[in-house]
Amino acid sequence: MKGTQESGQDILTVKDLRVNFYTFAGQVKALDGVNLSVKRGEVLGLVGESGSGKSVTALSIEGLLPQNAEVVGGQIILGGKDLLAEKRGEIRTARLREMAMVFQDPLTYLNPVLTVGSQILEILETDRRVFTPVVVAARLEDLEKAGRKGSLTEEQAREKGRLEAIPPQHALGKREFSRLAKAYSVAILGKVRLPEPERMFKMYPFELSGGMRQRTMIAMALVRRPALLIADEITTALDVTVQAQILKLLTELKTQIDTSILLITHDLAVVAEVCDRVAVMYAGNIVEVAEVNELFKNPLHPYTQGLLAAIPRPDAVRGELSSIKGSVPNLIYPPSGCRFHPRCPSAFEKCPLSKPPLVEARPGHFVECFLYGG
């Protein structure tokens, strides 16, 4: 279910997002003016170390920050509306129809006492009016397929006629909707390549393997056809082989339902595999954004350079493993100016003074670093 957006444009725009956490140790300035945008139909990777603020960004977009967090500035524009200025009810609708988030560890994110199928079904049943067209279309498609194989029974033909005659904006009656929604949910379970979807519908999360549970979570996102899909470290808890399958599934589905993906990960290999563009995040800032190949070929920001240099290469015969010296900063008392400067091999006098602005150092390649101007 899409909001209003123009094609070729940005689905999501985050402008200067600032988020603070209030803890007993002090005020954690977690996000320090995050800027990013996701274009329609693309996969944007968001990379960074643990604690760099990737998940906080995702939760801010969804409006699901914990109670001790506060958004102190910025805008999050999705479907033409600033989510930070909306009321609770509007945000909930946005979560239902325009964006979907898939989380890291499917075991703790699925309700253990409800069946997998009911956890998908409840999404559809939240708003019958909105989802009627989808479930009806799915049913009509089934009937079409049945019609092509053999002829329809009288009952099926009548049903087909009735469903085709439903006006837009109409909500199906509860019982009929439940029936069609259940069939649709089972179909979705099939679309994410779960075996025996009918049986899977009635199973409980603890009966499934990690990969299957992750597919279920993806199914929950799929079922509402969001404009934006946020995937937060979805492969981190999985085996490498399963990882590959999930990523493949994701890219296929992206084209099928015409969604855009914000893929959060700390794994550069995943980024190289799947993403169109990449944003690198450090200590609450986006320090570099570029197309994938461009980033790997020409990393501009010293942090990105350090990250890429740190990847061990099987063909390097000698030499130490290189690493970035120092450690992640304490965000209660963050470094002044550019937050990376204490660890930066190329730091100079300008760096501690103020935060560098985002400049387009090469076409389509943006950096926040005084080395490139600003």
Binding site: T23, F24, A25, G26, P329, I332, Y333, P335, S336, P342
Partner: protein
Amino acid sequence: MSEIVPPAEARRSADLRFALHLFRENPLVLAGLVLSVGSIAVALLSPFLVDPTSWQITHPILKNCWNNPLFGWGNANIQACPSPYALGTDSFGRNLLQMIVLAIPVDLQIALEVVLSAVTIGIVFGATASYAGGIADEVILRVTDIFLAVPGILLAIVFMVVFGRTIPVLTGAVVLIWWPTYVRLVRSQVLSEKEKPYVESLRSIGAGRLRLLFRHIVPNSIYPLLVQATLDIGSVILTVSALTFIGLSPSPLLPELGNLASLGSQYFFTAPWLIIFPGLTILLISLGFNLLGDGLRDILDPRLRR
């Protein structure tokens, strides 16, 4: 330039701020501290405040009188005492306030004895059950099942019917009610501690099982026991006073809060203070220890330290 505050100092001030935060969120914990420590103080000071033998002397003429200049009970049947008593007199003509002051240490002492005994029994049997496992564990568990199947008061009543109505029997009866809870608590604590990695590493370097149990596992399981014990002091006083209230006390003269209240049960319309004040004292003491126990649980619960 970069990070300014050294980490150790930051952590200490974080702890302090957390503790202050708890007190701010929960001013009641402070009230609990005041009430419980206050009652212990009264108990310790009571021999100096009131003559310890005064409960044995009755003054029939002064029965059930009230003469507090500050307020009355609006009931025409109240006799006036010749001299002002802060809380009136009881059915034996004794000064109710003095009796209450004498009763507080009696109750607290019984409660302390009960809780300490129950904790000890709990540690011995609970640790054995969980550590030895197998048949010993099953047997101990079934025995606790048996005791937990009966409401506490009934168990105590049966015990006192058989063995008499003295204070030691009363204490023993209440211990009977409480020990299964502690056995189960200790058992579950030890069971979860046993699985922790440090136990395995200690075993691998040859630590003996008994030494491991009492020098490592038990001390680490102490916090929930401490919380439960504090909470239980309040509950024990409630049970003891209920038992004496229904008549299971050695003597009607005994200065004990429930016993004092039972004297007033026949007169509660005409002399309500006989029940109100002893009962209020019980309420305040048990409230104090319950609040304190809750506060302890909040402070000691590692998961809330975020």
